[in-house]
């Protein structure tokens, strides 16, 4: 488990233990990674974050076009691996959770414990304002620092 914000670790660990999910990635709607578990390489994390945030943006736009409220979650079901993608509000802004799980658990269990994790995250989030947006000249340095934190190297 690697997290940029220490207060997300406990809710994530509880979720992983209860749901038996294989991988989880927490990110902002801009695709900035907040925490991850199970990914081996930084390249995979950055790709998954970019794709995940793009899918959520697409589905939210689709919902807007249909005049519907936001979709709760997107689930891609597979025979060996499935993926749940859901956006949720926190005091730190709107975040996205990407969960990969196998046949050892079920989409119902993953959704149930994901919702509980969201409640715990919202309750645990510090109320002070989020850090200011990164300046363009600091972007690469901040990105490298985040990757180092997430992968310990």
């Amino acid at each position: 488990m690697r997290a940029l914000e220490p207060w997300v670790v406990e809710p994530l660990q509880t979720f992983l233990a209860e749901s038996s999910a294989r991988l989880i990635l927490l990110m902002t709607t801009a695709g900035q990674v907040v925490a991850q578990h199970g990914f081996a390489r930084s390249f995979e994390v950055m790709t998954a974050a970019a794709l995940g945030s793009a899918i959520v943006a697409s589905t939210e736009e689709l919902a807007r076009l249909m005049g519907a409220p936001r979709f709760g979650a997107v689930v891609h079901g597979g025979s060996q691996q499935s993926c749940l993608l859901a956006a949720f509000g926190t005091p730190r802004g709107r975040w996205i959770g990407l969960v990969v799980f196998g046949p050892e658990t079920s989409v119902g269990l993953v959704q149930l414990f994901f919702d509980q994790m969201v409640e715990e995250l919202v309750g645990a989030a510090p109320r002070e304002p989020a850090p200011a947006p990164m300046l363009a000249e600091n972007f690469e340095r901040e990105l490298n620092a985040s990757l180092k934190e997430l992968f310990g190297r």
């Binding site: 079920s106 119902g108 269990l109 149930l112």
Partner: protein, 115 residues
């Protein structure tokens, strides 16, 4: 009324039954439900589906067939589950004073009619 709702209505008419659901066993999702207020059908579907799946694996590992009826007894009531075909599972929540024998008969008959 759909066959699923007919099955749920029959089960919930048994004295002591607080609610019933038809769930997808593999996904742990609610297909149809008839529950008293305050009972979270989504949580029951997820947990009961997981229970049935694991029991199925355990019995298969022991060389036995999938259970036809499951009774999980708690301190304030019980969860009853009857797996059917097409991955459907009929689940009922019953209080301690429920007529378990009648609930079992109704559930097995109802799930058989769904097949």
């Amino acid at each position: 009324m759909s066959p699923a709702n007919t099955a749920l209505e029959r089960v919930t008419q048994v004295p002591g039954v607080r609610g019933s659901l038809l769930i997808s066993g593999t996904d742990g999702l609610v297909v149809a439900e008839r529950l008293m207020d305050g009972i979270d059908g989504r949580a029951i579907a997820a947990l009961a589906g997981s229970l049935i799946q694991r029991l199925g694996r355990a019995t298969a590992g022991a060389g036995l067939r999938i259970p036809t009826f499951v009774h999980l007894r708690g301190s304030s009531g019980s969860v009853l589950a009857a797996p059917g075909q097409n991955d459907l599972v009929l689940v009922a929540l019953v209080s301690l004073d429920a007529n378990l024998g009648l609930a079992r008969l109704e559930m097995l008959d109802a799930v058989g009619r769904l097949n």
